[in-house]
Amino acid sequence: MKMHTSSKLRKEFIKKWVKGLQICCSSKKNMDILERKKKIKLCADIALASAKNETTLWSIALISEAKKDDENKILVDNLLGPESRFKPRMTNRQMIACHKRVRSKKILKKSRHVCQKMKKMGPPKSNLAAYIAKKLVKRRTQVLKRLVPGGESMDKFSLIKEALDYILSLRIQVDVMRTLVNANEVLNQSDSKIYN
């Protein structure tokens, strides 16, 4: 059953990626290598996220992040088609305000935590190993939150679930791209053989 869903996802991803590349190709004719790479990667990411069809948080976050850029917006809209429901829920200014609010809340929380810790200095020291372990876990979850798209606004529990799904989808993406690269290599080799 796992194989079945992954192959379905794979086909969806390939279809959408090709569609996106076609749109890219039709819009601009000459691009240097870095631009091309960016477009390829962008198409791949959006294809992967939209192949998920809004079932996971990270895919929604990825697409809304891509839409923030004005130049990518048109591409994304074309790619998703008329049935796209991804509308940026907030304008840019509201986003900035939201971020500021979140940051100030975090600062308040931290200061409160520190105060509480200062009050009860005794108990944590007795169980030093557990305390250190907790700190390590906390730091690593922070890093994971930054890696998984949209991770900052997830609690620890759904973060793990999203990370699981994200790893699976990334694997499919890497797999497809790698087979394409290998195929190209073989084609080029056969080309040179024929010409020699």
């Binding site: 590349l21 799904d165 790893i167 790698r178 084609l187 080309d191």
Partner: protein, 268 residues
């Protein structure tokens, strides 16, 4: 003899129909990939994970067979039974079909069986030390509404810490699933190290995507529109070979491409 052959053909077709029905009906149960993953490692944190998704596929085989039996019976009634051995053959083939069906789908039933036995084992283990029972409501949409957590000896039983414990156990269960997914994570114990491995894995996958897209950009002078020819071939191959290993599909694709390469050269 002709009639016998016809009947044989019809049973064969019905066998194929049954198989296609099974293939069609099963995928919708898969839901999203995470729930599909949950079905596989059957011995992981059984009491906290959702169980009705596993019982659903169990109901499927039983629902498919009555319909197949009915259709077979109708055909036998419509055909004039002038040769009795043919009818007996029909009747014999149908139970064989159902047997093969049963054998082909042992997986949905096995996890349920193993889960129920594991649940019983755990309960008997806990019973010896349990003092109180409390049910904790769980507001996560995809799981059971009530999680029965038994309090162990010497542990607090107020709802707060029970909720905490349930939450922690949920997180540990999910972490175990992640451990299974990431290669080389099985032997590591401790949440921090596992998280470390997971982070490394995600980072390496993201870097690979960057690298591969750079390579693809370098290969093509411009992004080819003929890619869709390549991809349609790959889709065909995927459909027929999806059960095989990764390396194998790679080679199959390469062989197919070699035949298509001349067409692409003319485009260049």
């Amino acid at each position: 003899m002709n009639k016998g052959e016809e009947l044989g053909m019809e049973t064969f077709q019905f066998g194929e129909e049954i198989q296609s029905l099974m293939a069609v009906v099963q995928p919708p149960e898969a839901g999203n990939s995470f729930t599909a993953l949950l079905e596989l490692p059957a011995n992981q944190a059984v009491k906290l994970l959702h169980s009705h998704e596993e019982t659903a596929p169990n109901n499927l085989p039983s629902s498919v067979f009555p319909s197949a039996e009915n259709s077979l019976e109708t055909t036998t009634s419509s055909v004039v039974p002038n040769s009795s051995p043919n009818n007996i053959n029909l009747v014999k083939q149908e139970p064989i079909d159902s047997d093969s069906m049963h054998n082909s789908s042992p997986n949905p039933s096995d996890p349920v069986v193993s889960k129920s036995t594991k649940r019983k084992e755990r309960e008997t283990n806990v019973k010896s030390s349990a003092k109180k029972i409390k049910s904790v409501t769980n507001d996560d949409g995809e799981e059971l509404p009530y999680v029965h957590v038994r309090a162990r000896r010497g542990q607090a039983t107020d709802s707060h810490s029970l909720a905490e414990r349930a939450r922690r156990e949920k997180i540990n269960a999910r972490m175990k699933l992640l451990q299974e997914l990431v290669p080389g994570c099985n032997k590591i114990s401790g949440t921090a190290m596992v998280l470390d491995e997971i982070i490394n894995h995600v980072q390496s996958l993201q870097r690979q995507v960057e690298f591969l897209s750079m390579r693809l950009a370098a290969v093509h002078p411009n992004i080819d529109i003929n890619l869709d020819n390549i991809f349609s071939a790959e889709v065909i191959i995927l459909q027929s070979f999806y059960l095989l290993m990764c390396n194998f599909t790679c080679y199959a694709i390469i062989h197919k491409f070699l035949s298509v390469s001349t067409f692409i050269k003319t485009y260049h």
